[in-house]
């Protein structure tokens, strides 16, 4: 081993020890945050993107024609109640979201017009969520994997250049109004990071002041099968989406 390699090895070793010490310190500090008030609820807010599978279930590509490659922005919140706690927790709850995408209507020749067009969804869901927080709460590992499954119903509406709900006439001259609702299911997995580990003192104050036991940031992959359970005559809003958010356990 050359001098340079030896120096580098020593440096890495020093850094490794420092990181390990820091992690231990974080874990030790976070353990002091465990003396906390009872908890049974979880509130999460999240933001992500959602590209509905409209074009996959339609002969043409109306979504891409109007919105290009843009995904919908989707924000939402969930409130869950923990019905079981042992080796992890099982919670039931509901969520409400809002998603939107804006694009431009097309001229008769297919070119992009100046008229803005939009599409919005308002997914309502009920979920069952299992979180494996045993390691986080017992052994100071600040990571909580979880999985959820549930039913969802998405209200949706399309807007025209005036911002009104879009209307188109069918072959009989009757109006087809661009709003509706699509039923479906959802399932997903995610990983939460316990923020209490970063600042145990602040976490304790948060618990004492407002009763929030634990705070997490998380990343979640959720697949929504929004097509009226396979109906061919429904707008297909199915998509898998990655979202990020903040969760409070109280």
């Amino acid at each position: 081993m050359s001098v340079d390699h030896t120096t580098r090895w020593n440096l890495l070793t020093t850094r490794g020890v420092a990181i390990a010490s820091a992690l231990c310190a974080v874990c030790a500090l976070s353990s002091s945050a465990l003396a906390e008030s009872p908890r049974s609820m979880m509130l999460e807010v999240h933001v992500g993107q959602h590209t509905p599978a409209i074009d996959e279930s339609t002969p043409g590509t109306p979504y891409a024609d109007t919105f290009g490659n843009d995904a919908m922005w989707l924000i939402g919140m969930n409130l869950d109640y923990q019905v079981w706690r042992d080796h992890g927790s099982l919670a039931v709850g509901g969520g409400l979201g809002y998603g939107w995408v804006d694009g431009f209507a097309l001229n008769g020749d297919g070119s992009q017009s100046a008229d803005e067009a939009g599409f919005n969804i308002l997914p309502l869901s009920v979920n069952v969520t299992y979180r494996w927080d045993w390691a986080a709460l017992r052994h100071n590992v600040p990571l909580v994997p979880y999985a959820k499954v549930g039913l969802t119903w998405a209200l949706w509406w399309a807007t025209d250049g005036k911002g009104d709900v879009a209307v188109v006439a069918d072959e009989d001259g009757n109006a087809r109004t661009g709003r509706g609702g699509t039923l479906g299911w959802q399932a997903g997995v995610g990983l939460q990071f316990l923020l209490d580990a970063v600042s145990p003192g602040m976490a304790r104050e948060f618990d004492n002041d407002v009763g929030v036991n634990n705070s997490y940031i998380f990343a979640e992959f959720l697949y929504r099968g929004l097509d009226d359970f396979g109906s061919d005559s429904s707008l297909d809003l199915s998509a898998g989406s990655l979202s990020f958010g903040l969760m409070f356990e109280f």
Binding site: A166, R176, S233
Partner: protein
Amino acid sequence: MTGNQTHSFSRPGSRKGIKRTLGSLALTLAVGATATSNAAIPNFSFNGITGRGALEDNLNDRLGTSSLDTEHIINIEDCNAYLGGEIEVSFTIDPLPAVDSDYAIAYAAPGQTCSISSIDVEAREDACWVPETQKFLGSTTIEATIRLSDLMGGDCDANIEDPANIYVVTQESGATSVLSETIEVYVDLKRPTAPVIGEAEAGDRRFSVRWTDDINDEDDVDYTVYWDEVDFTIGALETVNKKDDVDATSTDIESSAIANDVPYYVRVVAVDDADNESELSDVVVVTPAETLDFWENYANAGGADQGDFCFVATAAYGTSMAAELTTLRQFRDGVLMQSVGGRALVQRYYAWGRYAAAWIADKPTLKAVARVLLVPLVWLAKATLALGPLGALAAFAMVCMVMVAARRRWITHIRGGLPLAITTGGN
């Protein structure tokens, strides 16, 4: 409003008004020897302005004719309408001073002042007029007639923007100084500069238009967009479509009066706080045309979702029930929506029918059952549309009676065929 009041020509909350007020303050200070060195008249209040002769009931609200008004504005349009006319301005001093007093009322042309350091206010040609001078203050109400041509400066094309003051001066017997109040009438005869119109973008039965304005202070003006199917001049704006109070340099024009494939001539004017309009901008021509939003693209691409949560449409989609669907829609719009109860029923249907629609959407058997169940409803709708609600009710009653009669005969027939004797009562 009583006691040492300030009648401003400014508009509350307007930045332009604030600037004008500051300008007024500067002007007042500059002529302080006449306007502000006097003490205020106790128990003084402005009592209102009335038009005389042809102007009776023809004064614009901008002039602030009510006793509650604190701003008084004359613009170019008013100036042209008021030329040669007179107004009567009324004030109240109640209670009267304990000591005998005299009063005078004077007014000055825009940008001019009257010397009000004594009760003997001196008139000056084309600058200051004194309709009431050194009169005994024996009544709580005092009035003066004012020639508007003088107050406005006499030339509506003068391109001026100045206050014209109305003065009330009193002096107690034996006193060496006078008391005074000033009513400011803002005479704005200056048009804002016309904006420079830019691009107009066509949409589906709408268009948007942009313009620039490097001359007028953006805080001083709003804009009005005029459009019509033929070009127009400033003298014909009464009949032209417009969108006013635009507080930006672009706007979307959306109106039921706009049709696709029709060229529209569009011009913009700037409008100042006194409601003076600039000259018309140059014209741009824009032709709205149909565009296809997402929902139209979806429908044109063959998307099957009918939208609108319609259970009946879901059940009937792809079948030969299109005519029945039309009948039911006519029934909805022509009968149900004409009554409160019917509207509530329709509302409930759209609130809850969506669930049923979603449930049967991909179930051919259930859709077929739904279509069969809808047949009586279609008959009822047809009967109602043909006979009217009462006729349909009568027809329905007759059908019910026939069915009851038939059912009785049928039950009697069945009973007669039974081997058991049915008895009632007895032991």
